[in-house]
Each structure stands twice: as C-alpha cells, then as structure tokens.
C-alpha cells in the first residue's frame, strides 16, 4: 500500500494533471466530457461504497442523486441558499432518504435487495413525475438572470465547473481511500464476503451497512447537486429514470468494483465513449452506444468480474 507521502504525492500529480488539461485545450466538448467524468467518478465512488465494498447491489441510487439535485435547486431557487452550501445540505437530505431506504431493505438477501431498491427506484420515478412540489414532469429550471453571480454557482464558461466538480471528485476519492483503509472498509468487506459469518463474529452488520449507506447517499446527493448546477435544468426524466440507476453502477463495476481507483478508471472509459458515440453514430439518438456498453458488461461479467482493476474479493455464491 502507499505511504502517506506517496498518497499525497499521487494526489498532487492528479491535481497538476487536472490543472494542465485546460491549459492544453478548453475545447467545449473536452471540458464537457471531463465534467461528466468527474460527476460520475463521484457517483461511482458513492455506489462503490454500498455496492462494491458492502456488496449490496443497489439499483436505487438515482433516488439519492435526484434528491440531492432537487434539494440543491430548490434551496437555491426558492430559498436563496447559495449552492456552495446548498450542495452539502442537499447531501444530508439525500442521506436521510438513503438511510430510510437502507433501513427498510437491509434485511433482504442479495437478489431481493436489488429488486427492492429497483422497486424503490420505480416508486421514486413515478412519484417524481407527478409531485407538484418539484414541478412534476416539467422539472425545475435555473433562473438565467443569476448566471455569473458570485454566490449562484452558475457559470457561463465550463472552466469553473471543471475545477469545482473536479476538486470535489478528488476529495471524494481521497475520502474513499481513507474509508478503504479504515476499519469501516474492513468491516464492509467482511459483510460482503459472508454476512452471516460476520454477524456471528459479533459484527453489527446492520449498523455498518447503515454507515455505508449514509456515506454513499451523502456523496450521491452532493454530486446530484453539482449536476443540477451544471446542467441548470433538472427533471424526473434526467434524474430518476431507470437507466440512470444503471449508469451509476456501470462505472464502478467496469472500472474495478470495490476499489478506490475503479470509479476513476470506469468513468474515464465510459463517459468519453458515451459522449463520442452519442454524437458520432449517424446523427440522432440511435442507442448503439448502449448496445456496445451492454456487450462490454456481458464480457466483463463473464471474463473479468472484478472489472478492469479486478481486485474483487466479494461474494461468490
């Protein structure tokens, strides 16, 4: 493992890398790709905590993402809370939702947990489309008059987003690294490997799953808020649709489930490919990119279940 100095060194290198990219090119498309990559690094880290480390295959993470997005937007637009604070508050709202979900579903075994979270995701979607408080299907739009104001976290350029979201993603990764090396990380892995055994050795399985869910949901909420601030328009379609749940988990699993760098690897593979095929394949939304993703998923599941980094020591049943 890396020593503290090496750790900081690596972080420093990454930071320098992040700083140099815009010097080379601020091409809009490139910036956009990086920004989405950063967002999905965050979401990937979030899912990884509960799905990769604790081994709970959650199909409902879009809910916490959406809650964070909407909370940030509503706090800012309707209550004037600056997103610089709002994002972190929204994280707590998302955490609350996640904890409720966890409390309800953590008694369930693997496949059933996945299905329960999927059911929750669908309930979230159905409610989201009809709930007037969040404007239902019409969504919430940011007031463009506030573009560029210092407290609004709304920018005309992509560069500020690049830095802000990039830094948050970096900090999140460092946090996950800390967790990975900590007792929590160890306990979660134990739970993943054999929950019954872990419980029998005296581990309070439920409590640690809840810790994991809390951390996971908080991060998802924060990145939901960052997403809202970037796209400046959120609606149930973009935040709550079923595919969004799958987006979130593809990143860490393809990259390296249960590892710190997995989401980074996954995001930097998945997002550029998605962005390039979206615009490249004979115009319009043909979805062929997704077919390719599906093929990759099948291949990875069969030949390299741990993802590209392949360091998964989880449940073989």
């Amino acid at each position: 493992m890396l020593s503290a100095r090496q750790r900081w060194g690596l972080a420093g290198v990454v930071l320098i890398g992040m700083l140099t990219v815009p010097q080379i090119s601020t091409n809009l498309f490139l910036m956009n790709t990086f920004i989405y990559a950063f967002i999905f690094i965050g979401l990937g880290q979030s899912w990884n905590v509960i799905g990769g480390y604790a081994g709970q295959f959650s199909l409902g993470h879009a809910i916490m993402f959406a809650v964070g997005a909407y909370a940030t937007a509503i706090l800012f637009i309707r209550h004037g809370v600056t997103p610089y604070a709002g994002i972190f508050l929204a994280g707590f709202v998302a955490m609350g939702v996640g904890l409720v979900l966890g409390a309800a579903t953590f008694g369930l075994r693997y496949h059933y947990f996945a299905m329960a979270t999927l059911a929750a995701a669908l309930i979230g979607k159905t409610v989201g489309f009809r709930w007037e408080y969040i404007n239902g299907a019409s969504g919430i739009e940011y007031p463009f008059a506030q573009l560029g104001a210092p407290w609004s976290m709304m920018f005309r350029d992509k560069l500020p987003y690049y830095y802000i979201i990039g830094v948050v993603a970096l900090v999140t990764t460092l946090l996950i690294y800390r967790m990975d090396r900590s007792k929590l990380g160890m306990y979660l892995r134990a739970i993943d490997m054999d929950q019954g055994l872990a419980r029998n050795t005296g581990l309070d399985v439920f409590r640690y799953k809840m810790y994991a869910m809390g951390v996971s949901s908080y991060i998802a909420g924060v990145f939901g808020g960052l997403y809202a601030q970037y796209v400046l328009y959120i609606d149930p379609m973009s935040t709550l649709r079923v595919l969004r749940n799958i987006d979130i988990l593809i990143i860490p699993i393809i990259g390296g489930v249960g590892t710190v760098l997995g989401p980074i690897v996954g995001a930097f593979i998945f997002i550029p490919v998605r962005e390039y095929t979206r615009t490249g394949l004979s115009g319009g939304y043909t979805g062929l990119g997704w077919v390719m993703v599906g093929v990759v998923i099948v291949l990875i599941s069969i030949y390299r279940p741990g993802g590209i980094l392949n360091q998964y020591f989880g449940r073989w049943d």
């Binding site: 799905g51 081994g55 295959f57 309800a104 579903t105 008694g107 369930l108 075994r109 693997y110 496949h111 059933y112 996945a114 299905m115 329960a116 999927l118 059911a119 929750a120 669908l122 309930i123 159905t126 409610v127 009809r130 079923v242 595919l243 799958i246 988990l249 699993i253 489930v257 939304y285 043909t286 979805g287 062929l288 990119g289 997704w290 077919v291 993703v293 599906g294 093929v295 990759v296 998923i297 099948v298 990875i300 599941s301 069969i302 279940p305 998964y312 989880g314 449940r315 073989w316 049943d317």
Partner: protein
C-alpha cells in the same frame, strides 16, 4: 367489519374513494388481465426457480415477441394469433441461447456478476430494438378480434378477452407439461434440489437451458397477444412488464410457478381496483408499493402455494 364499512363510508365522503359502482367491472377486468400477468410471470418464476437466476432483462424478451408480432401484422398482414407458434419457437431459442452462451458462464461467478450480466443483456436487447424499430411508440393495426363485447352487463375489450383465454390455455398446457411429463418433472426436481437431481440422472445444465427456453417461450406467447392491445416503445414497455413480472413473482414466492400466477392475479386486481377506487394515474405506483412491501415484510411471498 362495521369499522371497515364506516371507514369506507368516510373515505367515500371525503372523496378519497370514488366510483364504487365501477368496482365490479374493475374486478372482472382485473381477473382477466390477471391471467395475462400470470402468464408473463410464470416464465420468470421458472427461470428463477430452476436456474436460480433473476432475469432483469425479462421484459426485453417480451418486447421481442411484441415487435415480431407488430412486423408480422403491420407489414405482412399476418394476424397475431398465427404469430404465436413463430414467437414460441423464436423466444425459446432466444432463451436457450442466452443461457448456453452467456448465463451458463456466470453460474459460478460472483452474484454481482449474475445480476450485472442480465443488465448487459438488457442494454443489448433494448437498444438493439431501439435501433431497429425506432424510438416511436407503435402498435398493431388490426386484430381479427377487435372491438368490445358485453357479457353479463360488463364491458370487455375483445383483444383483452382473447388474450385472457389464450393465457389460460397456455398456462394450462404449461402446468400439464410440468406435472405430467417426464421432462417437466425433471425440471421441477432440478428446481427443488439440483444436486439430488443430478444424482438421479438428471442433467441440471440441460434443465437450466430448458427452463430458460420454456420461460422465454411463455413470455413470447404473452407478448404476442399483449401486442394486440398494448402499444410498444423500446424504453418504456419492457420496464413496465419486467416489473409486473417481478411483483407477481414476489407475491407468489420466488421460484414458485403456481404462486407466480396467483401473484399475477393479485397484481392485476390491485392495479384495476386501485385504479378505479383511487387515482388511476397512480396505478403503477400501487403495484410498486405492494411489491416493495411484500419484499420487505414477507420475501417468501404471501401466497405460499404448492412446490
């Protein structure tokens, strides 16, 4: 009992429950569609029970049958009823091949991969169909049994009625096969205990493949008939039906094929009666709520039947 009546009365006055007079019609429609949901669910239950795999891409297989029916009906003028044999064969092959090519190779993989791989299949099928059929919602133009009919004072859409009948027939054939034929019993044996089945000379791998094939074939029949009254869109339709199937199977106890049918009936009743008593735009929500409640409180299913 009297409290229930008072509660219902109050709810009626408050406007929470309306349309009490529409309930008998809803019950009748609910029973009819329950057969259809049961047919859809039975394949999922079979795969789950025999191969111990949850097929999250289940709705996509149904969609394949629906699109094939669409092409047959709109482009070639073949009535959906006659498309059934074709779809049965097609979907059986699809299911069997899915098992042999993909699923078989993750049978010993981490559970993470077993779930993940079906999502890969989902993406391939769904977006493959999006590419081929386009993003628009489409439906079958003509069915030889279009229109509606009135039986015992209640309205029934003819396509739905025929679909219900076909579902009933198919379910009967299915259960006769499972219970009376040697292969069917082999499948049931594998579902109960694969190791013991192997000792008795039954090849679990062969049974898994069969389960996938037959399970997909049943949903093929369902898809063919549902296409006569349900429009199809590559992204919306499969999700809906996968969830109906999951909810039905959850109610009946996962892996329990008879329970899946019963579960389908209940789901349909919840949808129809709930839609009439409460707001119809939340129909799906009731089903999802029931689903999650069953999962959380009684994962072994409410209706523990047979098996």
């Amino acid at each position: 009992m009297s409290e229930m009546l008072t509660a219902t009365g109050t709810a009626l006055q408050l406007g929470w429950i309306e349309n009490l007079t529409l309930v008998p019609q809803a019950v009748a429609s609910g029973l009819l569609m329950g057969l259809v949901y049961g047919l859809v669910a039975v394949g999922l239950a079979l795969i789950w029970g025999v191969a111990d795999i949850v097929n999250f891409a289940y709705g996509e297989y149904m969609l394949i049958a629906m699109y094939v029916t669409l092409i047959g009906a709109n482009n070639y003028g073949i009535d959906p009823l006659f498309m059934i044999p074709l779809n049965v064969i097609l979907l059986f092959i699809a299911g069997y091949v899915t098992y042999k090519l993909i699923i078989k190779r993750v049978m010993d993989a981490p559970m993470l991969s077993q779930i993940f791989v079906t999502f890969g299949i989902l993406l391939i099928l769904r977006f493959g169909m999006l590419f081929v059929m386009g993003p628009d919602t489409q439906s079958v133009d003509k069915f030889m049994f279009d229109g509606a009919v009135v039986i015992a004072g209640m309205n029934f859409s003819l396509p739905k009625l025929v679909t219900g009948v076909v579902s009933l027939v198919t379910l009967s054939v299915f259960f006769l096969f499972l219970n009376l034929t040697k292969t069917g019993k082999g499948i049931r044996a594998t579902a109960q205990d694969p190791e013991a089945a192997r000792v008795m000379g039954i090849d679990p791998d062969y049974m898994n493949g069969l389960a996938w094939g037959i399970g997909s074939a049943t949903v093929g029949v369902a898809g063919t008939m549902v296409a006569t009254f349900f429009s199809m869109q590559p992204e919306l339709t499969p999700t809906t039906w996968t969830l109906f199937a999951f909810a039905s199977v959850a109610l009946g106890g996962f892996g329990n094929v008879l329970g899946a049918v019963a579960g389908g009936m209940v789901i349909s009743m919840v949808e129809h009666v709930g839609g009439v008593l409460f707001s119809p735009s939340y129909k799906e929500l009731y089903i999802f709520l029931v689903f999650i409640l069953v999962l959380v409180y009684k994962p072994e299913g409410i209706l523990n039947w047979g098996e």
